[in-house]
């Protein structure tokens, strides 16, 4: 789901190599933009025989035929569990498709056994490697790319727009937003930005690639409430000294626990501290590379109990509630990547100070 979500708005054609019907999970639960748009996301409708007999030619031919008719700006082919088990060389298929169609093609070796972080990261990394043009020394002073914006972490509508607005309000020029609200052409110009802001871990790999290609420094953090000011200061420092940095620091103390994507959770923790002196710890249920402490990563239900020892308040998606300790105060914070569309209308815009104050008041009830 991560690959398709990351690339959805860019005019490409995303194809999952999987059985018929498996695309409906993505369309229904992960993609709030599906109903009203025409973005091209398909499935190869893989069958048992095709998988076992290695009928890659059919996959390639079907994708090329669709691309010829629908004329996408690029093609992304993503793997799933059965192709992974069969050893399907997805990147190689991508190269064959690109050669036949002349359309830039990403063959992305996902396997359906990891979270959206993996797919989004790989998709953004492909953009950073191949879709961003060399700026030839051109730099936009105060130019910022926002990396890691998908509905999975920011839902649709105001939260994503507010991130860009928060950056612009601090005097920066938003060159591109990866990848909500920008076109592929906007993203092609990303090399001209002077600094990259990584607002979720999905943008982290891309930031490192852009740093490697163009020397662009990056800053990790989400502009949550009062933390936005500190984050923008970090951006200015990065502009000044050219150094990359993480504006959020993993905290190991405090009796409030936030469960969620690590960058957003740690940024919210910082915002709670600034607003009310609440010490909160970010715990990530994903395969995060940024979460500093191993005890801050939970991959099994049984690990939740250990992670929440001593917690008096837990801020997490409502679907976590059944496994919360009865002694802890539970504050719901819906996360589209976790509960899909169920609580979408309750997803707050965490760039707003009032959202932070609302969480604090709920925690103190």
């Amino acid at each position: 789901m991560g690959v398709c979500s990351a690339l959805f708005e860019l005019g490409g054609m995303c194809v999952m190599d999987d059985a018929s019907g498996c695309n409906s999970t993505y369309n229904t639960h992960d993609e709030p933009r599906w109903y009203d748009s025409d973005s091209l996301v398909f499935i190869t409708a893989l069958t048992e025989n095709e998988a076992l007999m290695g009928e890659d030619d059919k996959t390639v031919a079907d994708i090329c035929a669709a691309a010829e008719e629908l004329r996408p700006r690029f093609i992304a082919l993503a793997g799933t569990p059965i192709p992974a088990m069969c050893g399907t060389d997805i990147p190689a298929l991508g190269r064959v498709i690109e050669k036949r169609t002349g359309i830039m093609t990403f063959g992305i070796q996902t396997d359906g056994m990891h979270s959206y972080l993996s797919g989004c990261s790989k998709a953004f990394a492909e953009l950073a490697r191949r879709a961003v043009r060399d700026p030839g020394g051109k730099r936009i002073k105060n130019g910022v790319n926002i990396l890691g914006l998908t509905p999975l972490d920011f839902s649709v509508g105001k939260p994503a727009e507010s991130v860009a607005r928060a950056v612009a309000e601090h005097g920066f020029d938003v060159v591109s937003s990866w990848a909500m609200g920008s076109s592929l052409d906007d993203i092609a110009l990303s090399g001209e930005a002077a600094v990259n802001l990584v607002v979720s871990e999905t943008g982290y790999e891309a930031a490192k690639i852009l740093q490697s290609r163009f020397g662009t420094p990056y800053v990790v953090g989400t502009p949550c409430g009062g933390f936005a000011g500190r984050l923008m200061s970090a951006l200015e420092e990065a502009l000044s000294d050219g150094g990359s940095r993480t504006a959020v620091a993993p905290s190991s103390d405090g009796d409030t626990v936030i469960i969620g994507e690590w960058v957003a959770s740690a940024s919210l923790a910082a915002a709670l501290d600034i607003a009310a002196g609440i010490k909160a710890r970010a715990v990530c249920p994903l395969e995060s590379k940024l979460a500093g402490n191993s005890e801050d990563r939970i991959m099994e239900e049984s690990e939740v109990t250990d992670a929440l020892i001593g917690a008096k308040t837990v801020i997490a998606d409502p679907l976590w509630k059944p496994v919360m300790p009865e002694t802890a105060k539970f504050v719901p914070l819906p996360h589209e990547a976790f509960s899909g569309r169920i609580f979408r209308r309750d997803i707050p815009d965490l760039t707003k100070e009032e959202s932070i104050l609302h969480i604090i008041s709920e925690a103190e009830k």
């Binding site: 498996c22 695309n23 229904t28 088990m85």
Partner: protein, 441 residues
């Protein structure tokens, strides 16, 4: 930014029935999924077994769809999962399932009677020893029933489809018991058969009782379906279940398929009455009521074009033919494939209305095709509503419990209501499992 990709070529995407032969075929390849989500999936259907608990064993990406299906139903307390990671494939899966199920049983805060354990594509590809798994589970936990269920869409062209397997699994816990010769079941439907359907009257008139899985909220009641002497099956997807019960329990299979042809419906009832040892009753009053309702619908719909899709009815060509014979303007039929028993309906419709368009739904170009219709159109089904962009539509899936002559009468009623009460499709058709409990309501 979001952009439309139009226009697309319609060649191979749509065909006039007059230019087509049976079965009409569409190009296969990549597939698209429209956001019409009212049809039930294996989670919804499995939940019909009262006091059952579902355990899905599959990879993270596959789990997401089913866990959120259960959550949207508000039924997550009846749902657990075992997440497959890369290492499990190498190490083998039998212990993972057995130990995982044991861990789930130990941790449950209530005591179900039955576990539906869903294995996935991965298990079939690595040759997981499922008989060993279920044998072990039944030995360790004899107080529970375990049903082998499947979420293996990759096998859909290798024998029974996941939907057929689910409708067979739904009755696996039924067991050998003393038969009640005066009792029948209707099996394999997501929706209970309408109380107004004449089939119920015919059965009760012969001194028989009839049960459906939806009648029971306790497991013991559900198990009492074992006592029936026969099982009535309406849809092709439930045939495998009916055959299984006939073989295992000796319950006579009575296949009485959905139809919009009075002659075929009467033949269904002849078979039913033959089994019950009674004469087929006079159906003329039922037909008269249905025809009256259809006539009223025609007066409301007039010459407005009508589009029909396969999500509303299992026999879209049969319904199209029936309505066309009564003067309706059948503009479009949406389906990706047709069953052999629709051939006569196809030929008749082709003769009556050669301009009727047959559209695919999963073909990739449907993603880019204009989702509008020039003028008003009445859609029968969620996909027809989506693809035509109309707000005049019948929001029914999988026949919605309608059956027989009364089903025709009720369909006409739905058509009238759809024309008189426009509604925005977007608000209705994205809900999964129409008719199930839903947290959005």
């Amino acid at each position: 930014m979001l952009r439309r990709v139009n226009p697309v070529s319609e060649e191979g995407l749509v065909v006039r029935i007059g230019d087509s032969s049976f079965p009409p075929s569409f190009r296969t390849g990549l597939e698209y999924a429209a956001p019409a989500r009212g049809t039930w999936n294996i989670v919804h259907t499995g939940m019909l077994i009262p006091e059952s608990h579902q355990i899905f064993v599959c990879a993270e990406s596959c789990l997401r769809g089913v866990v959120l299906t259960a959550a949207e139903m508000g039924a997550q307390d009846r749902f657990s999962m075992i997440n497959i990671r890369g290492g499990n494939i190498i190490d083998g899966m039998e212990d993972l399932i057995i130990d995982g199920v044991g861990e789930i049983i130990a941790g449950l805060k209530y005591k179900p009677r039955c576990f539906l354990v869903y294995t996935s594509c991965v298990h079939h590809f690595i040759g997981c020893d499922l008989p060993l798994v279920y044998r072990t589970l039944r030995e360790r936990y004899p107080e529970y029933d375990f049903v082998s269920c499947f979420m293996n869409p990759i096998m859909r062209k290798s024998g029974l489809t996941p939907d057929q397997l689910m409708r067979r699994g739904l009755y696996k816990p039924l067991r050998e018991t003393k038969k009640d010769e005066k009792r029948l079941n209707i099996i394999g439907n997501d929706f209970a058969t309408d109380r107004t359907s004449e089939i119920r009257r015919i059965i009760s008139g012969a001194g028989y009782s009839v049960s459906e899985i939806q009648d029971f909220d306790r497991y013991d009641g559900y198990l009492s379906m074992s006592e029936a002497s026969g099982n009535i099956v309406f849809g092709d997807a439930a045939l495998a279940g009916g055959k299984d019960l006939e073989k295992r329990l000796g319950q006579k299979l009575l296949y009485l398929p959905y139809s919009y042809d009075y002659g075929r419906i009467a033949e269904n009832y002849r078979l039913l009455c033959e089994h019950m040892g009674c004469d087929i009753p006079d159906l003329s009053a039922d037909i008269e009521a249905a025809e009256k309702a259809v006539k009223e619908a025609k007066s409301v719909v007039g010459d407005m074009p009508v589009a029909i899709d396969y999500t509303m009815t299992y026999k879209p060509l049969g319904l199209a033919r029936f309505l066309c014979e009564r003067g309706f303007n059948i503009a479009r039929v949406y389906a990706d494939g047709y069953t052999a028993d629709e051939k006569d309906d196809f030929e008749r419709l082709r003769a009556l209305s050669p301009g009727t368009e047959l559209w695919a739904t999963v073909e990739p170009r449907m993603r880019a095709a204009e989702r509008t219709y020039d003028g008003k159109i009445l859609a029968l089904g969620q996909k027809a509503a989506y693809f035509t962009g109309t707000d005049l539509f019948v929001n029914v899936v999988e026949n919605g419990g309608m059956y027989g002559i009364d089903g025709i009468r009720r369909t006409a009623g739905y058509m009238i209501d759809a024309v008189k009460h426009p509604k925005e499709a977007k608000s209705f058709i994205q809900q999964k499992g129409l008719g199930c409990t839903c947290v959005f309501e």
